[in-house]
Symmetry: C2
Subunit: 304 residues, 2 copies
C-alpha cells in the first residue's frame, strides 16, 4: 500500500501494512486489532475533526491526572467496563472452581498492619455497626488450606477509605490476618458503606456528562494467598446496598453478594455476621488480578 494513494477506505489497510513488520507476534495481533477497531469506531460515528480534538484533550487530561497516588486511566477502564471484561475473560480462562474474583479497586496497599483472628480491624474507636465475617478456606478439592494469608480493606462508617482522608502513614480499616491450621478465619470489622469513585478528574467529568451516580455498592475487599494456590483477589458485596445493581465499575458478581444476619454459629454470635467460605484455585492459573492495582504502576498506594 503506497501512502500517496490512500483514501478514506484504504487508510486502515495502509496503517496495518506499515505495522506488518512488528517482530513480536502477540504485540502485532493486539495492535492490529486495536487499529482496526479504532478506525471502525471513527468511521461508525463519522468522527469530526473538532470531536477528535476533544478526544485528544480528554486522553491528555486523563494522563496528566495519573500520579504516584492516582491512576486515572485505570479508573477510565473501570468505568467503561473494560476492566470487568478483562477480569471476566480471565475467570473463564482459568475456571477451575475457585471463588469468583472481583476488581482490586484503587485502594489496596501492601503494608497493612497484622491482626490476630477475631481482632477488630480498625486502628481506633469507630461508630457504625460492628460485624463479624468468618468462614473456611479450602482448595478446589474441598481440602482445608491451612494458614492462608488474608488481606482485607474497606471503607469506614463514613464510606471513606483511609487513603482518601488520612496521610498515607495513618492506616485504618485494613489488615492482614492468617487462617488457622484447619483453614478457618474470623474477623471483626465495620459494616462497610458504599462510596463514590474519585470524581474530581476527567473521568468524573465523563461520569457526570453520562448522568451516572458514580457509586460503588458497599463491599469488603479480600486478597487471599497460600503457597501452591492461586492468589484470589475478590470482594464481598452487601446485598442491601442501594447500588448493588448499578455498580459504577461493574465489579459486583452474583456469587459474591452476601448480607449480615443473626447467626448462632458465628464466633461472635452477638454481632451481625457473614459466613463466607472461599475456594482457592490451582496455582498454575493466572492471578486474575485486574483493576486499579497501583502497586504495579505507581510506586505507592493510591489515594486522591
Amino acid at each position: 500500500m503506497i501512502t500517496q494513494a490512500i483514501d478514506e477506505h484504504t487508510i486502515t489497510d495502509a496503517a496495518l501494512d506499515q505495522m506488518s513488520t512488528t517482530k513480536d507476534a502477540r504485540l502485532k495481533e493486539i495492535l492490529d486489532s486495536a487499529v482496526r477497531h479504532l478506525h471502525a469506531f471513527a468511521r461508525e460515528v463519522d468522527l469530526k475533526p473538532e470531536e477528535w480534538l476533544e478526544g485528544i484533550k480528554f486522553l491528555t487530561a486523563v494522563g496528566h491526572w495519573c500520579s504516584e497516588y492516582r491512576q486515572e486511566f485505570i479508573l477510565l477502564s473501570d468505568t467503561l467496563g473494560l476492566s470487568a471484561l478483562v477480569d471476566l475473560m480471565n475467570d473463564r480462562r482459568i475456571s477451575d472452581g475457585g471463588t469468583t474474583s472481583s476488581l482490586l479497586g484503587p485502594f489496596y496497599r501492601t503494608d497493612a498492619p497484622q491482626y490476630e483472628l477475631g481482632q477488630f480491624i480498625g486502628t481506633h474507636e469507630h461508630g457504625g455497626t460492628e460485624i463479624c465475617i468468618y468462614g473456611r478456606i479450602t482448595d478446589v478439592d474441598g481440602h482445608a488450606v491451612p494458614n492462608a494469608k488474608i488481606e482485607i480493606w474497606q471503607t469506614d462508617e463514613e464510606g471513606v477509605y483511609d487513603l482518601q482522608k488520612n496521610r498515607p502513614e495513618d492506616m485504618d480499616m485494613r489488615g492482614v490476618y492468617h487462617a488457622d491450621a484447619e483453614g478457618n478465619y474470623c474477623i471483626r470489622t465495620l459494616r462497610p458503606l458504599g462510596y463514590l469513585i474519585p470524581l474530581d478528574g476527567p473521568v468524573g467529568d465523563m461520569i457526570r456528562a453520562q448522568g451516572r451516580h458514580g457509586f460503588r455498592p458497599a463491599h469488603v475487599h479480600f486478597m487471599i494467598g497460600a503457597p501452591g494456590h492461586r492468589e484470589l483477589v475478590t470482594a464481598l458485596y452487601m446485598g442491601n446496598d442501594d447500588h448493588i445493581d448499578s455498580d459504577t465499575v461493574f465489579g459486583v458478581r452474583g456469587p459474591l453478594i452476601t448480607e449480615t444476619k443473626q447467626d448462632p454459629s458465628s464466633p461472635f454470635p452477638n454481632l451481625p455476621s457473614v459466613r463466607f467460605d472461599y475456594t482457592l484455585g490451582r496455582a498454575e492459573g493466572m492471578s486474575g488480578r485486574v483493576g486499579a492495582d497501583p502497586s504495579q504502576i505507581t510506586s505507592k498506594a493510591v489515594s486522591h
Copy 2:
C-alpha cells in the same frame, strides 16, 4: 441490566445501559461506539490482565509526555492512521473542489515573520538547494482570490524544523506571505528534506517495536486563508523522496505530490521551481484541520 448478573457476554450491554442517561445525544453516540469497539477489541484478542496493564502503562506514559511543547497523543493518533482517517472523512464531507488538505503536523506556530512575495524564507544563510514555489490561488469557480494570507513552514537543509533545534524565539524556515491582487504568489525557499518524527517518547518505542522507519517524506506546509473562503491546511510533497510511499503518519496525498524542475515560466527561472495552483473551498465548509495542532491544545508551538 443489573450489574450482579454481569458475565463476559453481557458486560458490554451493562456498560451501555449505565451510559444510557447521557444527555448530549452526540456524546452518547460517540461513547457508545467507543465502548462497543473497545470491548470488541478486548474480546477479539482475548486480552490478558498483564497485557491490559501494559496498555494502561503505555497510555499513562503517552499522557505524561504531553507538555506545552509536545503532544504525544496526537503523535500516537498520527502514527496509527487515525488522524489521516478523520482528515479524509472530513475532506469527503466538505468536498467542493478545494485543494486536498493534509495533516498540520506538530511544527506549526502562529507568529512567523512576514515576508514580501519572492523573498527568501530563511532568517540566515543556508546551504542546501534554493528553490522557487509559485502559482495562483483561485476559488472553486476559478476566480482569483486576491491577497490571500499564506503561511509556510518546513525543514531546513538538515531536515530539521527550527523548533527542533533552536530556542522557540529563534524562528527560521517559516514565514507569512500575501498573494497579490490577481491571486499570484511566489516564494523562495530551500528544498525540504524528509525527517524523523520525534522518537524519544512512548510512541517512538512503539514505532521501533513495529519495525517502522519513522520518516515523513520531504514536504512544505501551507496554510492559506482569505475572507469568505475555507482555510486550507495542506502540504506539498517532494515526489523524489525515499519515503514518498511510506509516510509514517499517512499524510501524503496523490494530488499534493510535486517535484521541482527547470521552468522558464518561473518568476525565478534560474532556480529549480514548482508551480502549484491552489483552490480555496467555500467558507461554509469545515476547516479540515486535523493533525498535531498545538495551538488548540498546548499554549505554545510544539517542539521536542
